[in-house]
């Protein structure tokens, strides 16, 4: 018996196809008429840090709505999560003490499941902080046979890993998720855990927070910190273990912006890991990225976007394998804000050529 046949047996029958090949072809024809459009990689948002350069004046200046465009959900139904979070509208959320054991979210699916985003969080007090290493993992039950495990941290998690077909629900259908503390309930003081379910909404339908008054001002120009200060050690170790090409902060290219023009830089392509774009903006905005003039298509989860006024550092990877860029090949990378005027800063870091650790 071959490995292939073993895997084939494990896969079982192939279900009916879930997309329309002809529609995909029509989509590509339309895209071809618009011009080249390339696909980039994943989006990561990392809180903290400072930054480097400013740009963006003289651009179209429409103001995002500060009020939600859809009916509101009562705060009790969100467990303290905001109604709009990271490009999504939260339809259900809950928080509970870690001693509570588990929380259950029941919600009606308002949009295609492809727009689904899950947020899992832990909160703790200073008193609990010293016991942080004791915080138990959280087990999310997606269906009777499927679970996913998350570390209990204050981070935000999205997209349940390996979300199985069983949890897919159609628009208008009810669905239930259960998040439970692994093992017996813990009594760590004031430690809480929670989750929220959001569905992505278009930029022009998003309920942006009110603009701060006074403004938070220009994004800090003290320098974007190196990778080791942007990510925790565990995440770094995991990425290295997974063979993810990490950005090389020492080889950073700062995009010095002319306030009246988009930012661009001539760089040399580093290899398969591509470039990492670090970006911070002082207000909601959408950004277009071009490599050698070709628009790099944003991630499947949406465009390069800023959803608030928090000046959070966004980190975007651009691998663009279909460009067939050779290591050392000169390319021009351009960043163009498409919605608003405003202050924003960015830098480019090439993925290091470090091979994955054995």
């Amino acid at each position: 018996m071959s490995y292939r046949s073993v895997f084939d047996q494990a896969i079982g029958e192939t279900p009916p196809i879930g997309f329309d090949v002809e529609a995909a072809i029509r989509r590509e024809r339309r895209r071809a008429r618009r011009g080249p459009l390339l696909t980039a990689a994943a989006v990561v948002v990392v809180a903290g840090g400072a930054a480097v350069v400013v740009g963006g004046g003289g651009l179209p200046a429409s103001v995002p709505p500060a009020q939600p465009a859809t009916p509101t959900v009562g705060p009790d139904a969100r467990g303290g999560f905001p109604e709009y979070l990271d490009g999504t509208r939260i339809v259900a959320g809950a928080m509970a003490p870690l001693s509570g054991g588990s929380i259950t979210l029941e919600f009606t699916v308002p949009a295609p499941w492809a727009e689904f985003v899950l947020f899992v969080r832990c909160h703790w007090s200073d008193q609990t902080l010293e016991h942080r290493h004791q915080l138990p993992p959280l087990d999310l039950t997606l269906s009777p046979t499927e679970t996913a495990r998350f570390p209990c941290e204050d981070s935000t998690y999205t997209d349940p890993p390996g979300a199985p077909v069983e949890v897919r629900a159609g628009v208008g259908e009810a669905h239930t998720l259960v998040l439970a503390v692994e093992g017996s309930p813990r009594t760590l003081p004031e430690a809480r855990f929670g989750m929220a379910v959001g569905f992505r909404v278009p930029f022009d339908e998003y309920g942006f927070p009110p603009r701060p008054d006074p403004d938070r001002g220009t994004p800090a120009l003290v320098g974007i910190p190196p990778l080791e200060e942007r990510l925790d050690a565990e995440t770094l170790a995991e990425m290295r273990e997974a063979g993810v090409p990490l950005p090389d902060s020492d080889a950073r290219t700062v995009l010095h912006a002319d306030p009246s023009r988009p930012m661009r830089a001539e760089v040399t392509w580093p290899g398969p890991g591509g470039y990492h774009l670090l970006l911070r903006a002082d207000r909601p905005n959408l950004f277009e990225v071009r490599i050698d003039g070709a628009v790099v298509e944003p991630t499947r989860r949406g465009p390069v976007a800023v959803w608030d006024y928090e000046q959070t550092l966004g980190w975007y990877e651009f691998t663009v394998p279909e460009l067939d860029l050779a290591p050392g090949q000169p390319v021009e990378i351009e960043v163009v804000p498409t919605v608003l005027a405003g202050e924003w800063i960015a830098a480019l870091e090439p993925a290091a050529a470090e091979p994955p650790r054995e």
Partner: protein, 171 residues
């Protein structure tokens, strides 16, 4: 794309659609996501059809596009799967039919728990039958790393082979 190119592309996609969907399912273990990945893949292949068909190994090229679509989607450090330190214990009292289902699920579950690139190596090498060199080129890693990931991945999965059956590579 000329009409002739498009006919050629359609024929290619029609012939490869199911294998691509099954490979995508092994990577992501979810048919909806698998279809998303294949949809992205065939879109990219359409855009670059002339380059694709000129490749030395068209199937390897397309599987590379598929694998990158999946890896790109999963590079968020905040989304973590904790690889199991040990495989789950196998039940000994279930009915034969239930045991077969459990083994099937356990194999997929263990595959899903492999680190991402290791999982990609296992799928590309042992399901898509790609060579070490082709797999290394797709993933941008060394041939030695492919061998290491493949061996370690199989060492995890082999624990669940039915009745310790001898399994060999299919190519």
């Amino acid at each position: 794309m000329t009409p002739a190119d498009e006919r050629e592309y359609r024929d290619f996609v029609a012939a490869r659609l199911e294998p691509l969907r099954r490979a995508a399912y092994l990577l992501c273990r979810d048919w909806h996501t698998a279809d998303d990945l294949v949809s992205i893949t065939i879109g990219k292949v359409y855009r670059h059809w002339r380059r694709v068909r000129a490749a030395d190994n068209v199937d390897a090229y397309v599987r590379g596009v598929l694998t990158h679509a999946w890896l790109d989607e999963r590079r968020r450090p905040w989304r973590r799967e904790e690889p199991a330190a040990e495989p789950p214990e196998r039940g000994t009292t279930a009915a034969p039919g239930a045991a077969a289902v459990a083994e099937r699920l356990d194999l997929l579950t263990l595959l899903a728990r492999l680190p991402r690139r290791q999982r990609a190596v296992v799928v590309l090498r042992f399901y898509c039958d790609l060579s070490v060199d082709a797999t290394a080129e797709i993933l941008g890693i060394s041939a030695g790393t492919v061998k290491s990931y493949g061996a370690r991945g199989l060492a995890s999965l082999r624990l669940l082979m039915p009745h310790n059956e001898t399994v060999g590579e299919s190519s």
